[in-house]
């Protein structure tokens, strides 16, 4: 239980900036907090930080213009690709015969199916990665909440668009696909079987009710595909973002907290560093005339 709590502490504290994360974990270790109390404390800090962050416009913009619409769209698109895959998989597993490989027409169809599925996977993974990157670009600090909402929309979209669950939703889905088809001018050249058109080609979902009578094709087959194609690329990008927050995201509510050398590099000479006591650490830095000097460092402002 303790190990789980400490694992959760490490996980939750990833929402903090690296410096603050280290300071907080160190404080918790030093004060000998129990694992449960440590988790409570870190959660409290993360909630406060997020609350501060969401008073600005960027996380809201990321939520309204990226996480929500793209979460719904990806949920929709992955579902359509999953329909397509499920139908073919059902056909091949139930009616498999070596004739499919031997006969040129059947073989071409199989190759076409495999190739189009792989292309769909690739395109969706790239799009999801781009979505994660755009979210990070717009508001890296808000990734925690936006990422959770994005994943939530994917997951609930999965449940919502289950075949046979709601005829209205299926009708809406078909309409959206028709619209996308019209807007994109009939489909990208060279990729005639891109997943968006799978539903159009296969007619309506009700025509394939036999496939979706099976729980496997209706639910189990879709979940891992959904996560693999849209969830994981976006999630992996979020992890990457969290590990490397840019300097401007590390800046606290007001003012700069970057180190003096970074500030000096940004602002350029002349500058002087406010004096610190020698015991507070230092860095070996080059002076303007090229000599090396041991300088104390702090998080204070650089005074021109």
């Amino acid at each position: 239980m303790n190990a789980l709590c400490w694992w959760l502490v490490n996980l939750v504290s990833r929402a903090l900036t690296p410096d603050e994360r280290d300071a907080v974990r160190g404080d918790l270790l030093e004060s000998g907090e129990s694992a449960g109390e440590a988790l409570f404390q870190v959660l409290g800090l993360v909630v406060r930080r997020q609350a501060t962050l969401w008073t600005r416009w960027r996380p809201w913009a990321a939520l309204l213009f990226l996480a929500m619409p793209l979460g719904i769209l990806f949920g929709l698109v992955t579902k359509v690709i999953a329909y397509h895959g499920a139908m073919y998989l059902w056909l091949y597993t139930n009616y498999w015969s070596w004739t499919i490989v031997e006969n040129a027409a059947y073989r071409n169809d199989l190759i076409d199916f495999v190739a189009s599925t792989l292309i769909d996977y690739g395109i969706l993974a790239v799009l999801a990665w781009c979505c994660g990157r755009a979210l990070g670009f717009l508001s890296r600090g808000g990734l925690l909440v936006n990422g959770a909402l994005f994943s939530g929309l994917l997951f609930f979209g999965e449940l919502l668009y289950t075949p046979g669950a709601s005829p209205q939703l299926v009708a809406m889905l078909s309409d959206v696909l028709r619209l996308l088809n019209i807007l994109s001018g009939g489909g990208p050249p060279g990729v005639p079987r891109f997943g968006l058109y799978a539903l159009e080609r296969s007619g309506s979902l009700s025509a394939n009710a036999m496939v979706f009578e099976h729980t496997f094709y209706r639910y189990e087959f879709h979940h891992p595909q959904h996560q693999f194609r849209a969830g994981y690329p976006a999630y992996l990008h979020r992890i990457w973002c969290q590990g490397n927050p840019p300097a401007e995201e590390q800046t606290r509510d007001h003012g700069s907290d970057c180190g003096p050398l970074q500030c000096a590099a940004r602002d350029g000479p002349p500058y002087r560093i406010q004096p610190e006591r020698a015991s507070r650490g230092g860095v070996l830095g080059a002076t303007d005339d090229g000599r090396q000097r041991y300088r104390t460092f702090s998080r204070g402002r650089v005074v021109p």
């Binding site: 280290d22 974990r25 006591r277």
Partner: protein
């Protein structure tokens, strides 16, 4: 004008002087007030005070007791001392002549 918790934090940091960092300040506040001080409140208040220019913080050296993790060191600035003094004077003035004796049984 400072808030109550801001004043507590500034006072603890001033008392600890060179040894003022997150965990030490938290312990100082807890022993003075006999109440729990959450890390969330501490760190968000530190940020607020730093933004107002009342304190200056920087990452200190890592120590083995902290699993090799650095401390967030704190130092009260002249502006912070001025604000704390003003707060203390105001509290002293407003408390003058008040006995704080309960007229009713608790």
């Amino acid at each position: 004008m400072l808030g109550e918790f801001e004043y507590l934090l500034l006072t603890a940091a001033a008392r600890l002087d060179d040894q003022a960092y997150g965990a030490a300040i938290r312990q100082e506040i807890e022993s003075a007030t006999r109440r729990r001080c959450s890390i969330g409140a501490l760190y968000t208040t530190l940020d607020r005070l730093e933004a107002k220019g009342f304190i200056k913080t920087w990452m200190g050296d890592p120590t083995p007791q902290r699993g090799g993790r650095p401390k967030r060191m704190v130092r009260v600035t002249a502006k912070g001392i001025q604000a704390s003094t003003a707060f203390y004077n105001a509290v002293t003035r407003v408390s003058r002549g008040v006995a704080w004796e309960a007229s009713e049984p608790l």
